[in-house]
C-alpha cells in the first residue's frame, strides 16, 4: 500500500502558498453587477413597504429585487420547506433577507442599500426557546413551536435509579458558536445566453445550491450548473446557507441577464448565517457501587431559530450521541428543536453532539467523583467495545477503538500527575473526555447516503477525477488523489481532481458528517475498476505473466514473483489507448442500510463510529479564575489514516476550535434577538498566542467497508474538548462550571461562592 498511510504534500498546495487559488471573491466577469442584501431591522414584524424611490437618482443603480420578483417558488428547500428565499410579508428574525439591490459597483450597491426605506410593523417576538416552547399565542412553527421531538426509550429508568449508589442531576447550557471561517460567504451567478445559469461560489454542498436555485428561478435542475470555487473553511457553516447566498445573486442575474457577484461583509455574515444551536440540557445519570453506568435520563433542547433548516437532523444526531460512548441499559431521552425569532441555526462540526457531550462527559466525571473512582477507570468499565450493543440497540461488530484511545491519552498526558506542579496561586488540573461520532448521514439523511465519482486516464498517463463532495480545506482532494493513484498504480503527481461541479457526477449528497473520504473514496475505488483492469490486462500481456501476478505501484508494473520483470505504466497506458481499451470509469457507492425508530430511539442510526479521548492539562489561577491550558492530548480512532499528517492537522484544528467553544466563544443576542458581537474583535476565536502544546494521537482499527479501512472523523476533534476543560477546572480547583464558555469570571465567582 505504497501511497496509503503516507503524508504526501497537499494537492493544490502550491497555489495556496503562492496566493493563486481562485476564491469566489477573485472572480471577475465582463459586465459584472454587484448586489447587497436588504435585511430585516426587527426580530418579528410585518413588512409594510420597501421603497427604493430615492435610489433611482443614484447613477449605476440597477434595481430592487424582492419576493415579488421571484419567477419560481419563494422557498429554500432543506429538510422541510418553511424557509423563504426573501421574506414576503412577515419577517421572523433580525437580519432576515427581504430583498437585494443591484448596481454597477459594490460601492453603488451599498449606497443604494443605505437609501432603501424599509417599513416594518414590529410584533412581539419569541427570543427565549424555553418560553417559545408551546407558547399559547405566538405560533412560529406548527402548534407548539417545536420543529422536531426525538426520543430514546430503553429499559426502566426509574427502578434503575433506585439501584444506583451515586446519582448526579444538573442543568447545562451552551451558547451560539460561530463558524468564523476566514473566507466570508460569497457567490457569483452567471446567466448564459442559452437560458441556463452557472453558479460559482464558496460552499460545501453544490447539489443543495443547485436545488435551491432551480426552485427559486423555476428552472429544471438540468439548467443550473453549480461549480465550487476554492472554499476558505466551512465547518458546517457552508452546508445549507450558501443556498440563500446563491439565490440572492441568481435572482438579479436571471432578471438582469448579467453576471452578479455577492460577497458578504464579515458582520453581515455573522449576523445572518447559521451557527451552532444554543442548548439547554437537563441531565440525570446514576452509577452502581461497582462503577457501572446504570441509568440516564435527559432533556435536551436546542434553539433552532426562525426556520427549521437543518434543526431536525442536528437534533437527531444530538439524540443518538446523548449517552456518550458507553453501555447503558436504562435510558430515557427527550430532545426538542424549538422555533424562536432568531437567526436559524444549523450545521457546525459535531452537528448537535458537542452540546450534549458537554453534559455527558461532565456527568461522567461527577459520577466517578461520587464513587471515589479514577475518572479514567470509571470510563474503562463502561466504554463500548467490539461485540457490545449500544444504548440505542446497535450491535458493534467491529472496529471499536474507544478503549485504546483512552489508554493512549492516559499514557501520553502524565494523567493526574500534578502534585509537584502546583505553585503559588496556580493549581494544576487534568480533565478527560471520551466521545464518539456516527460517521456519515446515517438514518437521519438516508436518502442522500450515496455518492458518485468518475475517473479518466489520459494517453500520457495523467489522470483526472471528479467527485460530488467538496474540499473546503480539510484535505479531501489530497486523500482522494492518493486513493486514485494507489488504485491505478500511478505516481501521486499524475492525478488531478477537477473542481467539484454538479455537471460532472450525479447528485452525491452533501459534504458533511465527515463522509467525504469514506463515501467518495469508495466511489472512486469502484470508478477505478475498469481502467485498472485494462492496465492489469495489458501489463500481463507485456510481462507475459498471469494477470493476478501483476503488481502496479507508483508508475511501474512488475511481476509479484520476480521483481526484476518490469514495465512502466506509461507504456501500458499508451498500448491500452492503441487497442481502444476502456480507460474511463464511473463509480456509484451506496452505504449499507441504517435505521431509527423515532418513538423508541432504537435502531442502527449510523454505519460506523469514530472514537476519541482527550486529556486537557491546565492551570487555574485561584486569585483571578484565569485558565492557562498547558497541554492537550487527543487520540482518535480513524480506521486508517490515509494521510497521517493531514489527520494530525485535523485533530489540532478541531481541538483548537473546541478550545474556543470551551473558553471564549460566545455569540450573544439581546432581548430583542439582535446579535451583539458580530466581529472578530468581540467574538473571540483562538489566536496563535492561545495555543498550548497539542499531542495528536492516531489509533487505527480498520473499518471494513471504508476505503483501505478509513472512516471519516473530521468533526470529532472539536467534540470532547469543552467537557475535558470543565473536568480539568474541577480537578484543579474543585468548582464545576456547567455553562459554556468557561470564563475566568465564572470560575472566580464559583471560587468565591465555595
Amino acid at each position: 500500500m505504497g501511497l496509503i498511510g503516507k503524508s504526501v504534500i497537499k494537492a493544490g498546495g502550491v497555489e495556496r502558498v503562492t496566493g493563486k487559488g481562485t476564491f469566489v471573491a477573485d472572480i471577475k466577469l465582463p459586465g459584472m453587477v454587484y448586489c447587497a442584501v436588504i435585511r430585516s431591522p426587527v426580530a418579528r414584524g410585518d413588512i409594510i413597504a420597501i421603497d427604493d424611490s430615492s435610489c433611482n437618482r443614484v447613477k449605476g443603480y440597477l434595481g430592487l429585487f424582492t419576493a415579488k420578483s421571484i419567477p419560481g417558488n419563494n422557498v429554500i428547500p432543506i429538510v422541510f420547506r418553511d424557509q423563504p428565499c426573501f421574506a414576503a410579508k412577515r419577517v421572523n428574525y433580525h437580519g432576515e433577507p427581504i430583498g437585494v439591490v443591484a448596481a454597477e459597483s459594490k460601492a453603488i450597491a451599498h449606497t443604494a442599500l443605505n437609501r432603501i426605506k424599509v417599513t416594518v410593523k414590529e410584533l412581539e417576538g419569541l427570543i427565549d426557546p424555553l418560553k417559545a416552547w408551546g407558547h399559547r399565542k405566538i405560533k412560529l412553527y406548527g402548534d407548539d413551536n417545536i420543529f422536531r421531538h426525538s426520543k430514546i426509550r430503553r429499559g426502566d429508568v426509574e427502578s434503575a435509579f433506585r439501584e444506583c449508589e451515586v446519582i448526579i442531576e444538573d442543568t447545562y447550557t451552551t451558547p451560539y458558536q460561530e463558524h468564523a471561517y476566514i473566507e466570508p460567504q460569497g457567490m457569483v451567478a452567471n446567466p448564459l445566453p442559452d437560458g441556463t445559469m452557472e453558479i460559482y461560489g464558496s460552499m460545501q454542498c453544490p447539489f443543495y445550491v443547485r436545488e435551491a436555485v432551480a426552485e427559486v428561478l423555476a428552472l429544471p435542475l438540468s439548467d443550473v450548473r453549480v461549480i465550487q470555487t476554492s472554499t476558505g473553511g466551512g465547518f458546517g457553516g457552508k452546508e445549507d446557507v450558501p443556498s440563500l447566498v446563491a439565490c440572492q445573486a441568481a435572482l438579479p442575474a436571471c432578471l438582469l441577464k448579467r453576471p452578479v457577484k455577492l460577497i458578504y461583509e464579515r458582520d453581515e455574515d455573522m449576523i445572518s448565517m447559521s451557527k451552532r444551536h444554543p442548548s439547554w440540557i437537563h441531565y440525570k445519570s446514576g452509577a452502581t457501587a461497582d462503577g457501572i453506568l446504570r441509568a440516564i435520563q435527559a432533556e435536551y433542547i436546542i434553539d433552532g431559530g426562525a426556520y427549521s433548516t437543518l434543526s431536525p437532523v442536528v437534533l437527531f444526531r444530538g439524540t443518538v450521541h446523548s449517552m456518550g460512548p458507553y453501555r447503558c441499559e436504562n435510558v430515557h431521552i427527550d430532545s426538542y428543536a424549538v422555533a424562536t425569532n432568531k437567526v436559524p441555526c444549523g450545521a457546525f462540526r459535531g452537528f448537535g453532539s458537542p452540546q450534549i457531550l458537554f453534559a455527558v462527559e461532565s456527568q461522567m466525571d461527577r459520577l466517578a467523583q461520587g464513587l471515589k473512582m479514577d475518572p479514567a477507570e470509571f470510563r474503562r468499565r463502561n466504554l463500548l467495545k467490539t461485540g457490545d450493543t449500544t444504548s440505542f440497540g446497535q450491535k458493534l461488530s467491529w472496529s471499536v477503538g474507544a478503549k485504546e484511545t483512552l489508554e493512549k491519552v492516559v499514557e501520553h498526558s502524565g494523567w493526574r500527575n500534578h502534585i509537584p506542579e502546583s505553585a503559588g496561586d496556580k493549581r494544576i488540573g487534568y480533565g478527560l473526555s471520551t466521545v464518539f461520532y456516527g460517521v456519515g448521514l446515517g438514518a437521519g439523511g438516508k436518502h442522500l447516503a450515496r455518492t458518485g465519482a468518475r475517473v479518466m486516464v489520459e494517453p500520457d498517463a495523467s489522470v483526472t477525477f471528479s467527485v460530488g463532495t467538496t474540499d473546503m480545506g480539510q484535505g479531501m482532494q489530497t486523500v482522494l488523489a492518493q486513493v486514485v493513484a494507489q488504485e491505478l498504480g500511478l505516481p501521486f503527481e499524475n492525478i488531478r481532481m477537477m473542481p467539484t461541479d454538479t455537471s460532472r457526477v450525479p447528485d452525491s449528497g452533501p459534504t458533511v458528517a465527515s463522509r467525504a473520504t469514506t463515501m467518495s473514496g469508495n466511489a472512486l475505488i469502484i470508478a477505478c475498476e475498469k481502467p485498472r483492469d485494462s492496465i492489469l490486462t495489458e501489463a500481463s500481456i507485456l510481462l507475459k505473466i498471469e494477470k493476478h501476478n501483476v503488481v502496479i505501484d507508483e508508475g511501474i508494473a512488475f511481476d509479484r514473483k520476480d521483481g526484476r520483470l518490469k514495465v512502466t505504466i506509461k507504456e501500458i497506458i499508451k498500448n491500452c489507448f492503441g487497442k481502444r481499451m476502456p480507460l474511463t470509469g464511473d463509480g456509484w457507492y451506496n452505504t449499507p442500510e441504517t435505521s431509527w425508530d423515532n418513538e423508541t430511539g432504537i435502531g442502527e442510526p449510523y454505519v460506523t463510529y469514530a472514537w476519541a479521548s482527550n486529556i486537557v492539562k491546565l492551570a487555574v489561577d485561584t486569585q483571578t479564575g484565569e485558565v492557562e491550558v498547558l497541554k492537550i492530548s487527543s487520540a482518535h480512532d480513524v480506521g486508517k489514516a490515509i494521510n497521517p499528517a493531514m489527520v494530525e492537522c485535523q485533530i489540532e484544528g478541531g481541538v483548537i476550535q473546541g478550545l474556543g467553544f470551551a473558553l471564549t466563544e460566545e455569540m450573544m443576542a439581546d432581548s430583542k434577538g439582535k446579535l451583539l458581537n458580530p466581529e472578530f474583535s468581540t467574538y473571540i476565536i483562538p489566536t496563535a498566542s492561545d495555543v498550548p502544546e497539542i499531542e495528536p494521537i492516531i489509533v487505527e482499527h480498520p473499518y471494513p467497508d471504508g476505503p483501505y479501512g478509513a472512516r471519516g472523523f473530521g468533526e470529532q476533534p472539536l467534540m470532547g474538548i469543552a467537557p475535558a476543560v470543565a473536568n480539568a477546572v474541577a480537578d484543579a480547583v474543585g468548582v464545576r462550571i456547567t455553562d459554556l464558555p468557561i470564563t475566568a469570571e465564572k470560575i472566580w465567582r464559583a471560587l468565591r461562592a465555595k
Binding site: S7, I9, K10, G13, V14, E15, R16, V17, T18, G19, K20, G21, T22, F23, A25, D26, H179, A180, Y181, I182, E183, P184, S230, T231, G232, G233, F235, E265, R266, M472, G473, Q474, G475, A645, M646, E648, C649, I651, E652, G653, G654, V655, I656, Q657, E679, F680, S681, I685, P686, T687, A688, S689, V691, I694
Partner: protein, 156 residues
C-alpha cells in the same frame, strides 16, 4: 493623486483615487488576489502585505500611503517557480488547510524571520497572533516557521 512606489520589486507610477484602500488597489487594479479580505476591519490578518518589510493589514491602509515605499505581496515572494523557503516549509509541515489565511501568515512569518532568523516559540506566536486561522489550530504553522528558520540558517 499620482504616486510612485515599489510593488514586488517593480517601480510603479500610479494615479490613485484619494480614499482607495490598499487592498482594493492590489486586488482590483493589479489583480493581485493573493491578498485576501476576511473582515475589512483589521481583525483577521488575511490581507497582510509587507510594507518596507513590516506586515500591515492592507484593508486598513490607504493606497495613497504607498508613496515612496516598497511593498511585497504573496505574489512577490516566490521567484518564478521557486518557492520561498517559508512557502516551502508551510507545504512540508502541512500548515495549510483551506489556505485562505496562508498568504497573510506566510508574509508575517517572512518578516519575522528576516528580523530574527532564529525566533523563540514566544516570538513566533507573537508575530502571527494577528493572523487568524480557523482550520489548522496553528501547531503546524509553528512547525513550518521553525523549519523555515532552520533552512534559512543552514543556507548561510
Amino acid at each position: 493623486m499620482k504616486i510612485k512606489f515599489r510593488l514586488n520589486g517593480r517601480l510603479i507610477n500610479a494615479d490613485i483615487p484619494g480614499g482607495m484602500r490598499l487592498i482594493d488597489l492590489l486586488r482590483e487594479d493589479f489583480n493581485l488576489t493573493g491578498t485576501r479580505e476576511g473582515c475589512g476591519k483589521g481583525e483577521c490578518g488575511a490581507c497582510t502585505v509587507l510594507l518596507d518589510g513590516k506586515p500591515v493589514n492592507s484593508c486598513l491602509v490607504l493606497a495613497a500611503q504607498l508613496k515612496g515605499r516598497a511593498m511585497v505581496t504573496i505574489e512577490g515572494l516566490s521567484d518564478g517557480d521557486t518557492l520561498d523557503p517559508v512557502q516551502r516549509a508551510f507545504l512540508e509541515a502541512t500548515a495549510v488547510q483551506c489556505g485562505f489565511c496562508s498568504p497573510g501568515l506566510i508574509l508575517a512569518a517572512k518578516s519575522l524571520l528576516d528580523k530574527y532568523p532564529d525566533p523563540s516559540e514566544e516570538q513566533i506566536k507573537r508575530a502571527i497572533s494577528g493572523n487568524l486561522c480557523r482550520c489548522t489550530g496553528y501547531s503546524k504553522v509553528f512547525k513550518a516557521i521553525k523549519m523555515a528558520s532552520e533552512t534559512h540558517r543552514n543556507s548561510k
